[in-house]
Symmetry: C2
Subunit: 217 residues, 2 copies
């Protein structure tokens, strides 16, 4: 579009210029915050809440402690941000899977497959899971785990029952609770026994078992 | 039996007298140790490893710290004793269940039913489970969890497959791993969301799901 003297366009252009002046600083702050969060997640996942200090986090990102404190109030504040970043992943993941236009049972399988990969590969998920296990050490209370997953799976299981893909003689919320427990136990045992190195194989076993148990026979 | 002057009996009687002199002190020591262990388990289960001190344990049993140190080297030593007491329960439980003369699948069900009750009611089991979750805080390494359960269930599942009670198209050790993961996840989610108040209902759900998934269709 050619530049004209039309007042609306002039106003837009002027706003854009202001944003261009302001945004890089905000963007940098957002990037720095994400950078700190990732470093903290690596430390929390690797050595736990107790042994990780703000000084460790600062050292890992090559910043001063003061610079870290500019973004986070204290260690608890970082821990909560990591756990929240974890919980923000799942609704986004569900939206992605919904876009694939699968049948209800296919969606459940795909959602859990992607979740298993996240537990294997995503440091924020791993850190948040460890922080949840160590939640008694953290003064500020963490968001409640598991219930969000149960609430996300229940309507999908209801749809799968309506489509005749899942046995209809067990309530969908009961099936959702069992799936969430089974998934969590699987990744936890894999973590404790093998540092999650065998997570893909263990998920394949649990997946086959669960699909067999969900099928109407 | 009447008392006679038969030398063998005299010797037995003399030995018994020595034991009577020695045993009460040993028995008292054993009882005191068990008493300390139980108090420590209550504290570990309730407030975790970090917030429990030897002083707390001593106060709870009405002893001096010195008296507690007579039985345990340090806090780690008590924590390990609690975890070991937990692991000693399961082979004994398996022996009890074997004495019931059930069929293989019946034995698996009964074993897990009793284990679920122990997770609900037994403070040593609850404490050991929490200590395992907090194991990164404990300097001395704890006995490895889960594998013993997988190893106990695998031969029972093999027998159940041979008896045609369990589907034979999945390896028994894979089924054992899935059962252990599922059981652990169930009790953990129940603990985090409801302090294990709903453990009986949650176990009933998981039990029905697992039996359905084990059955040949």
């Amino acid at each position: 579009m050619k530049n004209t003297t039309h007042p609306a366009i002039t106003r837009t252009a002027r706003t854009a210029t202001v944003e261009q002046l302001v945004e890089p600083k905000q963007e940098r702050a957002v990037r720095t915050r994400a950078h700190i969060l990732k470093a903290a997640a690596e430390l929390f996942a690797d050595q736990g809440y107790q042994r990780t200090s703000i000084a460790d986090v600062a050292k890992r990102v090559g910043m001063t402690k003061g610079a870290v404190y500019f973004h986070f109030k204290d260690k608890d504040d970082i821990a909560i941000a990591v756990v929240e970043a974890n919980y923000q992943r799942w609704p986004a993941l569900l939206d992605e899977v919904k876009d694939l236009d699968l049948d209800p049972l296919g969606m459940i399988g795909e959602l859990l497959d992607r979740t298993a990969r996240a537990f294997r590969d995503d440091i924020v998920v791993q850190a948040a899971t460890r922080l949840q296990a160590e939640r008694s050490l953290i003064k500020t209370s963490l968001p409640q785990p598991y219930q969000g997953w149960i609430d996300r799976l229940t309507p999908l299981l209801t749809q799968a029952q309506e489509a005749g893909q899942v046995r209809a003689d067990v309530a969908p919320d009961a099936l959702a609770r069992v799936l969430v427990s089974t998934f969590f136990g699987m990744q936890h045992v894999s973590d404790v026994l093998h540092g999650r190195a065998d997570l893909s194989e263990r998920w394949a076993e649990v997946r086959a078992f669960a699909l067999y148990a969900l099928a109407p026979h």
